[in-house]
Every structure is written in C-alpha cells, then in structure tokens.
C-alpha cells in the first residue's frame, strides 16, 4: 500500500497558496477539519475561495479564516449565524455565491466521478437559474450545473489508514467523502490513524486512491452549534 502520511497539519497544507480554491468538508461545525483550518490561519494564505456548505461561526471553523481576512469568496448553501461574515459581505470585502445544498453536493460528486456537469431541478424558475442552461427531460425542467474545479480539498474523517482509506462517523460524514473525491489534491485529517488492514474493507467510505495526504489531528474541540436536549422523565 502507498503511504500518504504527512507529519503535521502544517506539512499537510504545503502548496496552498494565495488565491487558490479550497473545498472544506463539514456541515455547520460538524465534521470540519479543525487542525487544517488552524494551520491555514498560521500560514496566513490570503484571497482564498472556499467551497464549503457553511462558513463556520465567528470564532470557529471557517470563521477563523474570515476573522483573519483570508477568504475572498465563499461558495456555500447557508451562511447564517456569523456576524463577521455579515459585516464583510455587506461591506463588499467578501464575495458570496449561494448554491442549493443538493447542487453543492452533486457538483462535488460530479468532480469526483469525472462528470463535467449534472442536471438538477433545484433552482429552476428562481434567481439561481440566472444564466444557466435549462433543459427539459420527460416534462420536467432541469438546470445544468458544472462540476467543481478546486486546487485542494480538506476533509475530516473519524478513522483513516496510512494509505488514505477513510471512515466517517454519524452525520459528520456529510460533504467530506464527496469533497475528498473532488480535490485535485486531497488532504485528510483523522481522529485516529491506523495501519492498512485495520479498517473493514467493506466499511470504508472513501478509498485511499482519492486521498493524497493524511495525518492524525489532535485536540478536537467539536463545538456544538445548537445544543438541544430533553429532560429525563
């Protein structure tokens, strides 16, 4: 097996330069690559375009890059709950492209599967359709949407082996396996790094062929955005 292990988050993000496009996994703060984001803050690369379902909160997740003025453009489906984001967007410092969540996911899938474009009914008849090709199949209109083109994808998995095979846990899976497939260079951070053969070959979500660099992250904070509980009776 091919060894994809790098020593640290800082080593993993080598080659990420000003102006590049990054895909960043996670849904809200769930399943985000915390260690890699911290390394990007340390590195200080600027003018990034980030394709990510959300933009973090003010002081966590991609919010840390926003605080540090490292992001030029966000491509997301939902960017609420982030005052600094709102300020930068309204002041024109930050460019925002909003995309339906399923379209975002499927454009990642298209990249990973080598399909240049897909058809989806999401957004037909809305401002999202502006400038896009509309095509009717069997009486239904669909928008043609293109595969994403990004320099790097950065994802977070639960477990991974040294050859880059990844397993995700619960809903922290979300966009991670899709972006892992879509990156020209894919960086994976994992909570637990194991040797090849220690993951069930039937249970791997992302085959290592899609992953170029892997490292075991540390000190995961896993912040909860909406802590909702019920009382014990």
């Amino acid at each position: 097996m091919i060894n994809k292990v790098v020593a640290s988050a800082d080593a993993a993000i080598a080659g990420i330069e000003d102006g590049m496009t990054l895909m960043v996994g996670g849904f809200g703060l769930c399943g985000i690559p915390e260690n890699s984001i911290a390394a990007l803050v340390r590195k200080g690369v600027k003018n990034l375009t980030c394709i990510s379902n959300n933009a973090g909160v003010d002081d966590f997740g991609l919010g840390l890059l926003l605080q540090n003025r490292q992001i030029k453009k966000m491509v997301s489906s939902y960017v609420g709950e982030n005052a600094e984001f709102e300020r930068q967007m309204l002041s024109g410092e930050l460019e925002v492209e909003l995309i339906p969540q399923g379209t975002l996911a499927t454009r990642c899938l298209a990249s990973g599967y080598g399909m240049p474009a897909i058809f989806t009914p999401a957004g037909v008849g809305t401002e999202v359709a502006g400038g896009k090709e509309v095509r009717n199949f069997n009486g239904t209109d669909y928008l043609m949407e293109y595969a994403f083109d990004s320099h790097f994808a950065i994802v977070k998995a639960w477990k991974g082996d040294t050859s880059g095979n990844l397993v995700f846990r619960a809903t922290s899976r979300n966009f991670n396996p899709l972006m892992a497939m879509a990156g020209k260079i894919t960086i994976a951070e994992v909570e637990e790094l194991v040797e090849p053969g220690q993951l069930d070959p039937d249970g791997i979500h992302t085959p290592g062929i899609f992953v170029h660099r892997i490292f075991q992250g540390s000190a995961y904070e896993k912040r909860i955005e909406q802590r909702t509980v019920r009382k014990r009776n």
Binding site: Y78, V96, V128
Partner: protein, 217 residues
C-alpha cells in the same frame, strides 16, 4: 385560531404509515411530536440521516450527530448515515414521501418564497430549493398573515422564489387549503374561524365550494 403546535398537530394528520418525511426548521420540526402512536414514520434529515430520533438527554449530546438545523439529536434502531450527495439523491429521486416546510409567501399557483428578503442579510437557501423542486408532496406550515396583517397567500410571490408550482397543501393558523388550477381551495377552517375571516386573510384566488368543515385535531 391555531398556535404553532396546533398547526403541527393538524399537519400530523397528513402522515401515513410507512412514510419517509423531511421536516424543515420551525413549525415543521414540531410535527415530530404528534406522530400517532403505532404509526411508522421515518424522519430524513438532509445532512445525512434516515431515522432521526428525539433530542438527546442532557449530557448525552454527540457533536457528530446533528440534524439539518444543527441541533443535537439521536438515532433510532435502523437508522442509517450517508453523505450529502446520497441524501439529496434520494430527495431528487422522490424517495421521500412528504416534505413539510415553512414559507414567507406562497402563490395561488403553488410558487413558494422562503429564503431571501431583499435588503436583509441573506443567509442562503440551504437545502430548501432542492427539497421543493423534487418533493412528491409538499405541505407548507406558515402563518396566513404577516405581522403587519398582510396576507402571505398571494396571487404571485413578491419575494425571490425558492421554487415554482410545487406546493400542494398549506396549513395555517386559520385554514387548510390546497393549491389547485383554480387557486387556493379552502378545505378546512381552524376551530372558531369563519370562512369570511379566511377570505379576508387571503390575497390570492380562493375557491370556496359548499360547506367548509372545521378541522379535526
């Protein structure tokens, strides 16, 4: 006039045994509290879960286990996790039987607006555009009139659209209406609400045929 829980309770009567259901944020989430005993309904959360359970007990929250509203939740036996492409794949392929979501405006052709108010901070459509474009059955849970007393059931939406000609049924604090070729068709009145009150609160075309029964909750 129904409160939010009343709207949710009325919508729960639209559930059928064996349904897979996607519940939006707000009133739709409350529908989960009124699933009839013994009825098997599976809740889909578009961030990658089939078989959403109730909120966790305090101290048992799992940061890796949230719903599309980013709330901590639990699973039920038989739950399954998947990625976002498969999640919207099953939505797009109409495997979800019923989608319940909120709206700012609905037109009498079934257009819906629920994601953007010009001049205000736009948070994004999330999965709403995918859900409304693909759902085989959409029920909207909403207030009949806004805080200024203006109807939200309109001849045409004034806000940017989320989807066109997709809403099938609307449940409000005043009424249940279906979207038909002829406009909103009044099906039921909320307890204590008259047909005239509903007429006055509805700006879009309203079809009233025969006696309109009061809702059974």
């Amino acid at each position: 006039m129904l409160d939010k829980n009343g709207i949710a309770k009325r919508i729960s009567r639209e559930l059928r045994d064996g349904y897979y259901v996607n519940l939006g944020i707000g009133i739709p989430t409350l529908v989960a509290n009124y699933i009839p005993d013994g009825m098997n309904v599976v809740l889909q959360s578009e961030n990658g879960l089939l078989g959403m359970g109730p909120f966790p007990f305090e101290g048992e929250e799992d940061p890796d286990l949230i719903n599309a509203g980013k709330q901590t939740i639990t699973t039920v036996p038989g739950s399954v996790f998947f990625d976002s492409a498969m999640s919207f794949g099953m939505i797009r392929a109409k495997k979800v039987d019923l989608t319940i979501l909120g709206a700012m405006e609905v037109s009498d052709q079934g257009d819906i607006a629920n994601w953007k108010i010009p001049g205000k901070m736009v948070k994004g459509m999330g999965g709403a555009m995918d859900l409304v474009a693909s759902a085989k059955n959409i029920i909207v849970a909403m207030q009949h009139v806004n805080k200024a007393g203006e109807s939200k059931l309109l001849p045409a939406c004034t806000l940017p659209l989320t989807g066109v000609r997709c809403v099938k049924r609307i449940v409000t604090e005043l009424a249940v209406v279906d979207v038909t070729e002829a406009g909103f068709k009044l099906l039921e009145r909320a307890p204590g609400i008259s047909v005239d009150q509903i007429k006055n609160a509805t700006a879009g075309r309203l079809v009233i045929e025969g006696d309109i029964p009061e809702m059974v909750l």
